[in-house]
Structure formats: structure tokens, C-alpha cells
């Protein structure tokens, strides 16, 4: 049997890469300071977090679901970590592990409710978003943790590669590779994708779909916590409003990256590096427009338009994956 893998040229990722290059070119010629060391460093820190948020949403979109509680989970994990480090004085590494555990736990709750009730994750996570965030605000009394260990916050301001790149970006890129490995080269990753694509068929083929869906939600919580850790080291404090009211500031970048990147909203198809490029593109656009002195509200307007376009793209993508049935 001859192997034929589609040429890279025809892939969504290649298209995204071209867009990234084009916008880089446009912004670097039309604005001052886009290519400055300071701006590139700042970009790399923002991109790192947006990639992670995008990945966290991607793994739930894989099931054909959504995780609206993503931001709330992130903030909860951050505040929990702040409490561990500042109040309990737990060392950094165990604290980080605890934060990741907290994220996974909250994701697990989303997963178990979704699977057991059969209610769409949209509704479930809409509810848990409110619950998690409310609970967190109650416990912390909306107070921030600002006296985090120096070593922890230093990581967020460290500069690598001739001071151009933040180490946060390396964490995100490494996470991309890890997820790519998971979905491409492990049995569990393949099962996650199969369960998302056609739950009935996957179940009858001996995959326990419910468990896979719970794993996806846990992974989403884990990655959400990881994003929150990066954000906490970047701002140097754990603040209840770090992701906006109810953590909703994360939602737009969370959807944009995977949908632009080629993850099918109906589930069963994903692109890890597409999500990465999607996050890069969105951050680049936002940053470039800021430098062009486009107002904050206009930028939101543009991002909304981009999301709509991306969803349209998703529809056509679905159409072409299904309707490519030609002769029967």
C-alpha cells in the first residue's frame, strides 16, 4: 500500500504560517517598534499564554463540547497556588503540582457532570464557571496574593536568546510537542480523537467513551491551570480579576486559536500546531493594531469578526470533510 501524506503546502497550517509572515511584514514596516526587542519579548509572553489557553479549549472542542469554565478554572488554580505559596509556605515545585492538580480536579468535575447527566458541556460549564468563580471569590475575599516567591516571579520576567524571548514561550511550545505526541503517537490519544469523532462507533469498537470525555475535560483543566501558572509568573501575583469577570476574558482567545487552527467544532479532528499558529496570529494582530493606535474597542470588534470568519471556515471545512463523498 503506497503512503500518501498530503503536501504541507495544502494544509491549514501553511496558510496560517503565510498569514503570520504577511502580518509580521506589514506591522514591521508600518509601525515603529514592532520588531523592537521589548515588543518581541512582550509578544512572546502573551503568545505563550494564549497558546496554552487555546490548547486547553482545543481538547474539549475535540469531544464536540466546550469549556466555558476555562478562565474560572485558571483563576481558581492561580489563587490556590498563591495561597499555597504565600500563606502555607509550600515550596514552588510542589505548589505548581498542586495547582495543576486543582485544575485537573475542576476539569474532572466538569467531565463527570457532563458524562453522567448527558447535558451538553456548554450548559454544564456555564454553571460551573459561576460556581468555581463564586466559590473562589468567597474563600479569598477577592484579595490578591502579591508576595509570591521571587524565584517564581523571576521566571516570568526572565529573558532568553539575546533577551528576545520569554521562557514562558518555551513552556508552551514544549506543551504543544507533548500534546502532538499524545494525539499522534499514543493509544489513548487516538482513542480520545475517535471518541470525539463518533461516540457511538467508538463505544461499539471497545472504547469507553465516557472515560475519554472525562479525560478531555481533565486535560483541559490541567492546561488551564498551566496557563494560569504562566500568567501568574508574568504578572508576579495571583489576582482574582486576572482573567476578567468570571474568567471570561480568556474565552475569546480560547476559541479563536483552535478554530482558526483547524480544530473541528463538531469534534473528532484537531490540529495542535494549528492552534499554536492560531494563537500567534491573533496575538500578533492585537499587538499590531495597538501599535497602529487602533482603539481597544475596535480591536475587540476585529477579534469578534475574526472569530465569526473562523467559524464560517469551520463550517466549510466540515462540509468538505463530509461531502467529499463523490461516487457511491
Amino acid at each position: 500500500m503506497n503512503k500518501k501524506i498530503p503536501n504541507f503546502i495544502y494544509t491549514n497550517q501553511f496558510g496560517l504560517l503565510c498569514l503570520v509572515l504577511i502580518f509580521t511584514l506589514i506591522f514591521s514596516t508600518s509601525t515603529d517598534g514592532f520588531t523592537s526587542r521589548f515588543n518581541i519579548f512582550a509578544l512572546s509572553r502573551v503568545i505563550a499564554i494564549d497558546i496554552m489557553i487555546g490548547l486547553a479549549m482545543m481538547v474539549v472542542i475535540l469531544t464536540g463540547g466546550l469549556n466555558l469554565a476555562l478562565g474560572a478554572i485558571g483563576v481558581c488554580a492561580a489563587m490556590f497556588g498563591g495561597w499555597c505559596m504565600e500563606v502555607l509556605g509550600i515550596p514552588i515545585i510542589p505548589s505548581i503540582l498542586l495547582m495543576l492538580g486543582m485544575g485537573s480536579f475542576l476539569g474532572w468535575i466538569n467531565g463527570i457532570i457532563t458524562v453522567k447527566t448527558g447535558v451538553h458541556s456548554f450548559v454544564v460549564t456555564l454553571a460551573t464557571m459561576s460556581i468555581y468563580f463564586g466559590f473562589m471569590t468567597m474563600l479569598t475575599e477577592a484579595e490578591a496574593f502579591r508576595r509570591l516567591p521571587e524565584l517564581f516571579t523571576d521566571f516570568g520576567s526572565a529573558k532568553l536568546f539575546n533577551k528576545y524571548v520569554s521562557p514562558l514561550l518555551l513552556v508552551s511550545v514544549a506543551t504543544c510537542f507533548a500534546l502532538f505526541y499524545l494525539f499522534r503517537f499514543t493509544d489513548i490519544g487516538r482513542k480520545l480523537i475517535a471518541a470525539g469523532a463518533n461516540p457511538e462507533a467508538a463505544e461499539l469498537s471497545g472504547i469507553s467513551v465516557n472515560r475519554m470525555f472525562i479525560y478531555c475535560h481533565m486535560l483541559s483543566g490541567f492546561l488551564g491551570a498551566l496557563a494560569a501558572i504562566l500568567l501568574t509568573t508574568r504578572i508576579g501575583a495571583a489576582i482574582p480579576s486576572m482573567a476578567g469577570q468570571l474568567g471570561m476574558d480568556w474565552l475569546l482567545p480560547a476559541f479563536l486559536a483552535p478554530v482558526i487552527g483547524g480544530t473541528l467544532l463538531s469534534g473528532g479532528k484537531l490540529s495542535v500546531f494549528g492552534t499554536m499558529l492560531g494563537a500567534v496570529l491573533v496575538t500578533l494582530l492585537t499587538n499590531g493594531l495597538y501599535l497602529l493606535d487602533v482603539g481597544e474597542f475596535w480591536i475587540r470588534f476585529f477579534l469578534g469578526i475574526i472569530l465569526l470568519l473562523a467559524v464560517l471556515l469551520d463550517r466549510t471545512r466540515e462540509y468538505f470533510t463530509l461531502k467529499s463523498v463523490i461516487v457511491s
Binding site: 500500500m1 503506497n2 503512503k3 500518501k4 501524506i5 498530503p6 503517537f185 499514543t186 493509544d187 489513548i188 490519544g189 487516538r190 482513542k191 480523537i193 475517535a194 469523532a197 463518533n198 457511538e200 462507533a201 467508538a202 463505544e203 461499539l204 469498537s205 471497545g206 472504547i207 469507553s208 473541528l264 473528532g268 479532528k269 470533510t321 463530509l322 467529499s324 463523498v325 463523490i326 461516487v327 457511491s328
Partner: protein, 502 residues
């Protein structure tokens, strides 16, 4: 006046990489039933899609009632009185029969609200033409499959259809139900002057009701509007597949092993099965025969743990067991289930050949930290893909791009790769062309000869009688009786029918 109400002459249609129709010609006489035959991939569907305005031919003429017309979309086709009844049901299950019939043409009151009385009156008229004694207020979901099929036809007629396309209308009907359908079809042709294009893989039916035959092979006409009287089964098959039919004779090495591998004792299920007793020996093929809705598929789904068995014993290899899920059925007890609905439950259409064939073996072949590469998968499943002669340009082709027969081969291949001891095969040849069907029959026999125990669900009586060693007749979620199969069609089929009606 032209005697043809629909004519397609020298139509060509190409899709990327495939020439689906090559100078295809089709002529439908007024008030006749015309069989459109061909194997999967021969171009039937494309031709139908051109007639119904889904696709446009690249070249060639489409002539309706003597005038050349262009159909841009399915709505245009409806305007010319062309209506199609698909294999898949197109009724809204939670609406009533009347609402479904009048859906495109809802009668309204003066205030613009829907006039339910009028719906009942009008829809009754159409139901009466088909001798259907159904209250228009019945929900579609409460109807039997056969009645749904008839409602679809009633709906098509209500759209003033003069040309009716029926795509495998009997694939989920019992022989009696088919008979009723056929007499009704003849009636509407005679009394309403409707012309029917009839697509089916069952040649008996074609000889039973059709007047003319058009056969397509590889997108070309193997015969055009031939009078059915000039053809016999042999000739027809030769036209379709280009050679003589190879009749599968059950050449089982006699399998009288008394090595019971699976036994069900007084099993009850949450779906309503009662008193199910069944014994399956190694290398045996047991058939489950019954009408649609007899509870055969449901029983098997309970067996593999998809739904629950509430009482009684399941014994595998002499040990009493509980099977909680299809996962444990596969991994602990090596039971596989090939679904009747390959698109919904069997395959993942948006994934490729390799992923679909290997879904059952990932757990088996993984290495440390769950590592599974495409190479390892190919090594495991390639032998089965080539053994089954699956036609695909590559292992990376999407399943949705394969023809029905090849899709079915993949849904079989994945269970061969899994290496099951007990294989449940549910309606393996529905909508499958003759060549692939014969091939699958041979394969099932070979599997059993090689030591797999098989439970075969089929509504195709000839298939059942040529394959099964013994046939269990089910009705209404119970077992009515067991027929020892001596492969003599007449005696066995009459015994089966007796049991169905007890």
C-alpha cells in the same frame, strides 16, 4: 406526444479523479416501473442526483416531458414533479404523520395559523391512495418501519410527484411488507399514472415488479431501457458485474463440535427480552432471523454490555460472566460486533482507513507509555486490508470517500484485526453490491471454518439459509423457535415463516 416522461442522453459527469458517468443514457416511459441497476460505484447515485437536481451533468441532455430542462437544485426537480424516497428516512419523527405529509404545503386558516383539521383531511386523501389505515395524528415515531416507508411515498405523491425515485425501498422491510409495497407501487402506476425509478440490489424484486431495466457499469450503460421480458437473472447479473454470478454454496467442513463457547440461559434484558436461551458452539454460525423490530440487534447489544442484562446467565467457555461494556466484551471475552449501521455505529467517516481499521487493536499493540505509530498499525492491519481486497488509493484515504462495499469491508476488517473468538455480524450485506456480497458470504464461512463462532443477524432470507447452521427465529423480543438449517430454501423458509407467525 413523446412516450418518455424523463430522458437523459449521453450524460457525462466527472469528479476529481473519477469519471462517474460516461455517456450514460436513461429513458423512463410514462406509467412504468424502471429498474436502475449497477454495483456500488457504477454511477447510479450520480445519475439519481442529476435527475433530482443535486448535481449538474458536465455534458449531455436532460429532457423532461419532451423538453430540454436545466435543474439547478432539488427544488427545481420538485417543480417538475420529480420526487425521491431515500434509503434513509426523511420524516420528522416527532411530528405527526399528517404534519409530515403536508410539511411543504401547510394549510393555513384565515389568521395565518396552521389549520390542523385541514391537515388531517388532506393527508387522509393521500394515505387512502396507498390503502394506509393510519390516523394522521399518529406520531411518525410510533409507526413501524414499513409504514414509515409508505408515508414517505405518500409524502412524495402529495407533492404531486409524477416521477418517483425509490432508492432501495425494501432494505429494511420483511418479505410480506415488501409484497404490500409492491402491490401499492403497481397500483399508483396504474391509477395515478406515476412513473417509478426503482433502485435495488435484490434482483428478485426487479423481476417481480419492473417493466424496463437500465444497467450501469463503471459509469457506462451496460444496457439501456431493456424490456425485462428479454432478460433472465443470469443475463442481468452478467450485465451488472461483467461475468457470471458465483453462487456461494455453503461448503462448510461439517462443524459438529460440541464445544460450547457461549450460552445464554433464561436471559432477560432491560430492553424487554424474555426467556432467551441460546447455545453457540465453536466454529458454528447461528442465525437470528426476524422482522425489523424483533429485538435481534437489541439482544446483541445487551450481550456486549451496551445495554443491561437484568436476569439469567451468560456463560462463556463454561464460566458464568458479566459483560459490562463493549470494551470488556472485546478485551476480556474477545467478542466483536459488526454494526448494521456502518455509517453511524460502525465507522468514523471523517477519519481515514488506517485509523478506522485499527481502532480495535490500539490497546493490543501499544508499547511503553502507550506508544503507537502508524508503522506499527500498518503492520498489524495491512494484511487484513489486502486480504479483503479493499479498494482504496491509500491507507490515508478518508472512509467517507470509499464506496459502500469497501466501507463494509473496513468495518469487517477491524474486527478481523482484533482477533475475536465470537463475532456478531449484523446485516452484513444491506446495500452491498453482488460481487462484494458474495465475497462477504465466502468470508463468513471461512471465518467459521477457521474457528470463529458467529452470530449472524440478517433479514435477507436467502442469505440466512445459505450461511447459518441453525436459525433462531425471533419476534417481539422473544425466541419463537429454532430451525436446523439443511440449506434447502423452500422447506427451511416455510418453517421460519411458521415460527414468525406463532
Amino acid at each position: 406526444m413523446n412516450e418518455f416522461c424523463l430522458e437523459i442522453s449521453s450524460a457525462n459527469k466527472s469528479f476529481p479523479g473519477v469519471k462517474a458517468l460516461d455517456q450514460a443514457t436513461f429513458q423512463l416511459r410514462k406509467a412504468s416501473i424502471h429498474a436502475l441497476l449497477g454495483e456500488n460505484g457504477a454511477g447510479k447515485s450520480t445519475l439519481i442526483k442529476i435527475i433530482t437536481g443535486v448535481h449538474k451533468q458536465d455534458s449531455g441532455k436532460l429532457i423532461i416531458n419532451g423538453k430540454e430542462e436545466t435543474l439547478n437544485n432539488p427544488n427545481d426537480a420538485t417543480k417538475f414533479g420529480i420526487s425521491v424516497v431515500h434509503q434513509e428516512r426523511n420524516l420528522i419523527r416527532r411530528f405527526s404523520v399528517g404534519e409530515n405529509l403536508m410539511l411543504n404545503n401547510m394549510p393555513k386558516t384565515a389568521l395565518g395559523l396552521i389549520d390542523y383539521n385541514e391537515i388531517a383531511i388532506q393527508s387522509k386523501k393521500w394515505l387512502k391512495i396507498l390503502d394506509l389505515d393510519i390516523d394522521p395524528n399518529t406520531l411518525v415515531s410510533d409507526l413501524t418501519v414499513a409504514k414509515m416507508q409508505l408515508c414517505e411515498i405518500a409524502k412524495a405523491l402529495s407533492l404531486k410527484a409524477k416521477i418517483l425515485l425509490l432508492d432501495e425501498p425494501t432494505s429494511s422491510l420483511s418479505p410480506q411488507e415488501s409484497k404490500i409495497l409492491f402491490s401499492l407501487l403497481k397500483k399508483i402506476v396504474r391509477e395515478e399514472g406515476v412513473s417509478i425509478v426503482f433502485v435495488s440490489h435484490k434482483l428478485e424484486e426487479v423481476f417481480n415488479i419492473c417493466d424496463d431495466v437500465t444497467v450501469l457499469r463503471d459509469g457506462q450503460n451496460a444496457c439501456t431501457s431493456e424490456d425485462i421480458k428479454n432478460l433472465d437473472r443470469q443475463k442481468l447479473v452478467r450485465l451488472m458485474i461483467g461475468r457470471d454470478e458465483q453462487i456461494v454454496k455453503s461448503t462448510r467442513k461439517n462443524q459438529n463440535t460440541k464445544d460450547t463457547i457461549l450460552a445464554l440461559k433464561n436471559v432477560k434484558t432491560e430492553l424487554g427480552h424474555k426467556n432467551i436461551n441460546l447455545e453457540l458452539n465453536r466454529s458454528e454460525i447461528i442465525g437470528l432471523y426476524g422482522l425489523v423490530g424483533a429485538g435481534r440487534t437489541e439482544l446483541m447489544k445487551c450481550l456486549i454490555g451496551q445495554d443491561k442484562i437484568t436476569d439469567g446467565e451468560v456463560i462463556i467457555n463454561g464460566k458464568k460472566v458479566t459483560i459490562n461494556s463493549p470494551k470488556s466484551a472485546l478485551e476480556k471475552f474477545k467478542i466483536g460486533y459488526i454494526s448494521e449501521d456502518r455509517k453511524k455505529e460502525g465507522l468514523i467517516l471523517i477519519h481515514n482507513v488506517l485509523d478506522n481499521t485499527s481502532i480495535t487493536v490500539w490497546s493490543q499493540i501499544k508499547k511503553a507509555i502507550g506508544f503507537v505509530s502508524d508503522g506499527m498499525i500498518s503492520k498489524k492491519v495491512d494484511p487484513y486490508i489486502s486480504q479483503l481486497e479493499v479498494k482504496t488509493p491509500s491507507n490515508y484515504q478518508l472512509i467517507s470517500n470509499l464506496s459502500g462495499g469497501n466501507q463494509q469491508k473496513i468495518s469487517v476488517a477491524k474486527w478481523l484485526a482484533a482477533g475475536t473468538d465470537i463475532l456478531i455480524i449484523d446485516e452484513p450485506t444491506v446495500g452491498i453490491d453482488i460481487k462484494t456480497k458474495a465475497y462477504l458470504h465466502e468470508l463468513i464461512i471461512k471465518l467459521a471454518d477457521d474457528g470463529t463462532s458467529i452470530i449472524l443477524i440478517s433479514s435477507d432470507m436467502p442469505e440466512m439459509i445459505s450461511l447459518a447452521d441453525k436459525i433462531i427465529v425471533m419476534n417481539n423480543f422473544q425466541m419463537n423457535g429454532i430451525v436446523e438449517n439443511n440449506h434447502d430454501y423452500d422447506s427451511v423458509s416455510s418453517k421460519i415463516m411458521e415460527y414468525i407467525h406463532t
